[in-house]
Amino acid sequence: MSRLLFALLLSTPLSLLAAEPAEFAPVAELLAGSTPQTAGLKLDLPSVSEDGSAVAVGIQFEGQLEPGDRLASLHLFATENPRPELIAFRLLSDQTLPDFNTRIRLNESQQVIAVAVSEQGHSWISAKDVRVTISGCLVRDPDAEVITGMQNPRIALPRRIKAGEPVELRTLINHPMETGLRPDADGSLIPQNLVQSLQLAIDEQPALEVQFANGTAANPYVRLVVQGQGKELDFRWQDQQGEEVVEKRQLPL
């Protein structure tokens, strides 16, 4: 009997630790009862990160969709951040491929969960543990420059573009991404101030909406891949104050 109790005592915390990613509340809500497939979604994260304020992450969908189905969105969650949402990508046209890189915030060692959802309600899941160590000696004072609004939007096209091949685009905009949880020098909280979204339209057709969150690193960076006949790219960043920054690029196809 005592041995059984002992085993129970031991197993309780362990089972809590090993919680299924699909049962994490925000993920369960997104899955809405569907059982996610565990193969087909690639999550690329370092196993140890010295700087939790900007952890590079890649997410790529490689699964099989049923005929007639298409991928609707990709989501990233952190299990131990004050707010679990990291970033979400809504695919609005087939011209945007489900292959993204960005940088996220992780305030401690935890699990990062990636979820992909299709229009017909199929889902895919992938999770990875990341250990966040004290940011190394070698980080400079982040308060050196203080900006509040969106500044200096940048878009990089590859040096060579071949007709018919996917085109990799990298986007960046300067913004502090204030979480609303951080105290300033006097101890009062700095109000939340986020870039809310990045929208991409190709030839005036909506192609992608990236939804940023508290867990998106400052100066939101998104690498994305487009394919197809579209030429006219229209990038639109929106912040919580309703301000908008627009950048246009032509693909030389």
């Binding site: 070698l138 400079r140 040096r159």
Partner: protein, 338 residues
């Protein structure tokens, strides 16, 4: 152009890492040939021979001159490196320098020199490096990390200037140059004269690799040049955690320097296996490595990281760290003598 060259030009970080490998090989071979060593300089000065210290002074001069020229010519802002800080924890940096100097005297070689010696078959240095990696890890992200951050935040204060004005730097460098070139000592030893001059110039290539070649505003890399304490720790971590890790400037630098020194030692038939002849030497290598690891993290750099790379930016923290390292080594040498 071949496809792989095109692909490299599209990926500045890959290009930087390949450049760093070549850079490391060259640096390793040069260090093995010239036997540049601040500690050897201090030991010999105590015996009245200034050659090695003059060589190190010349390397410092060349590092400052070439890096400042690079900054002026290419627009790399050396103030973006970790050495230039507005509110540094100078007491911690000084203390770290003292620990590092003490460890270097105990282990009989600094970090970079240990790497070169280990590549030449010196197992004492290899043991010292393993111990150093543990010490650096303890202070960077391990058991002592929180204590380090607490101490740093406790002792931070704002400096009126974060780096020497150029004229003061020039005066300092002129003094070092005069010391190095005075008399005929240095002129009579080609490896010391040419080797230290080239090593000093290579410091600016490090800035160039991370500040120009690898510069990518979408995926920024830290501005770095030659340093060894944190890189030796990173290399050890990389070897242990290969899956889920990424190569960085520091790791490739350590690998390159090791390989360069090994190649040069083999070609010159200088490769000799060496080991401990007494438990006392083992103790000194282990404790020296540990002290250098912890101290090197606290002081933000070693005899290369602070005394060459840091000094080339004319940062105030580097002057403090160098003072700590020299004082720590000098006192330990005096104590060991008695």
């Amino acid at each position: 152009m071949p496809d792989f060259v095109e692909a490299l030009l599209d990926a500045p970080q890959q290009l930087m890492l390949w450049g760093t490998l070549l850079f490391g090989l060259l640096l390793g071979a040069l260090l093995q040939w010239s036997r540049l060593c601040l500690l050897r300089g201090l030991v010999h000065v105590r015996q009245g021979n200034h050659l090695k210290l003059k060589a190190f002074a010349l390397a410092m001069t060349a590092a400052v001159a070439s890096s400042q020229l690079l900054a002026w010519y290419s627009g790399v802002d050396l103030a973006g490196s970790i050495y230039v800080q507005d509110n540094p924890a100078l007491p911690v940096i000084l203390f770290g320098g003292l620990l590092f100097g003490c460890g270097m005297a105990l282990a009989n070689a600094c970090t970079g020199r240990s790497l070169v010696l280990a590549a030449g078959g010196n197992l004492r240095s290899l043991v010292c490096l393993l111990s150093l990696a543990i010490g650096a890890g303890l202070a960077l992200s391990g058991l002592l990390a929180e204590l380090r951050v607490w101490l740093e935040n406790l002792t931070r204060f704002s400096l009126p200037v974060s780096r020497l004005p150029l004229w003061a730097g020039l005066v300092l460098v002129a003094g070092l140059l005069f010391y190095a070139l005075k008399g005929r000592t240095l002129w009579q030893s080609t490896p010391d004269l040419v080797g230290s001059l080239l090593v000093g110039i290579l410091i600016s290539s490090g800035w160039w690799l991370t500040g120009v070649v690898g510069a990518d505003e979408f995926e920024p890399v830290p501005l770095l040049s030659v340093s060894f304490v944190a890189p030796v720790f990173e290399t050890q971590q990389y070897l242990l955690l290969f899956t889920g890790s990424k190569l960085s400037f520091g790791i490739v630098l350590v690998a390159g320097v090791f390989a360069g020194a090994l190649l040069r030692a083999l070609l010159a038939r200088e490769f000799v296996w060496e080991a401990f002849d007494s438990p006392g030497r083992l103790k000194r290598s282990l404790s020296g490595g540990l002290l250098m690891g912890v101290g090197g993290v606290l002081s933000l750099g070693c005899t290369y990281g602070q005394a060459l790379s840091g000094f080339s930016t004319l940062a105030i923290t580097s002057l403090v760290a160098i003072a700590g390292i020299v004082a720590g080594a000098w006192c330990t040498l005096a104590l060991l003598k008695n």
